[in-house]
Symmetry: C2
Subunit: 210 residues, 2 copies
């Protein structure tokens, strides 16, 4: 099945299913989860899970549910998480440092292999994980050396496009952008934006309507 | 129009349109933007913008485009951003501090009115914004005093549900959850999750397919 045929929302939900399965696995307990329970944990209905998984084959056993470990393995494989991904991060302020320290990245197979900042006072500083901050001027070279595949942008909005352009030159295949600005794209590089205030706007809308 | 009739994706895009309009306003220049240009800046097609706005009335002038200031005003009103929203935040690690310092929150009318942590060493500490960290035991009382409307959870995943339960008791009307766990919901409180690794999974999927 071509990636383009699968709704983006399905991919996002697969990721949410995998989180729930991981939590079930960590908690121990039965090796099987009913589709009803998995749906509850993910905030969807069981039919949605069946529909999402149906894009990729046959999963689960009728009347029994899903084998947790197997389904997790299959979903991680679908998502391309049966390998580690190398991340390069730029902008080592509070947010950048929080991301590098975030326990969930490593757990999911996302490894920060290089970190950059424009502030000369931060260059050479070692993060808690042992990663050393490099000058942003060396981005292209260091990203190539460390085989970075995904760039993470945590700079102020006015610097983000310039950093994206450098990432395009490496080239990286994807960018996770935390700067609150829409980046100009480049063929061959997929961009995902994380804007907290967009999520807050969603909340504000629903709260003001209720 | 009832909130429930509007697709969630439309609300998310309205928020993205408002960011683009704000950037245009900051940059100065013409008071009008063509629907083609606005669409480019937002990474959608012009028909999508028209369709999204059509849920809320008639906007823009045929053959001219959109008056930037007016459309921004209207979208912010639709989103419930013609008022400030009071935020309470729990978990003042790197991420929590990054959020409080994030320039975009205040700009959008989101004000952190109280901050909490479980670590006795952090209690009483003043953040850069002047906000003082309170003990998590006082959450309900302090949230009521400061009229917090939205709770922001930046705790480790294993503490998140307990914090959500306290927010439900305040009660707050919405929660922005950064902990990588699906929270049990409570009637009258809307939850939005921000999980960075879900976004990364999206990237990994597309990269592994290409």
């Amino acid at each position: 099945m071509k990636a383009s045929k699968i709704p983006a929302a399905t991919i996002t939900r697969l990721s949410i299913y995998s989180r729930a399965l991981e939590n079930l696995l960590t908690q121990g307990g039965a090796p099987v989860v009913s589709s009803k329970r998995l749906a509850e944990l993910c905030g969807v209905n069981p039919a949605q899970i069946r529909k999402d998984l149906a894009y990729f084959g046959q999963f689960g056993v009728r009347g029994v549910g899903y084998y947790i470990k197997e389904l997790l393995f299959d979903i991680r494989k679908i998502l391309g998480l049966n390998k580690d991904w190398n991340l390069a991060i730029v902008g080592m302020g509070n947010l950048g440092c929080a991301l590098v320290a975030h326990q969930n990245f490593a757990k999911q197979g996302y490894r920060f292999v290089c970190a950059f900042d424009a502030d000369p006072n931060k260059i050479g500083h070692k993060l808690a994980t042992g990663l050393e901050i490099s000058p942003v001027q060396d981005l292209i070279e260091v990203c190539r050396e460390t085989k970075a595949e995904i760039g993470v942008i945590c700079t102020p909005p006015e610097r983000a496009q310039e950093i994206a352009n450098r990432f395009y030159q490496v080239p990286v295949s994807g960018i996770l952008n935390f700067a609150p600005v829409q980046l100009q794209t480049c063929e061959g590089c997929k961009i995902e934006n994380v804007d907290f205030t967009v999520k807050l706007d969603n909340l504000a809308y629903y709260l003001s309507m209720s």
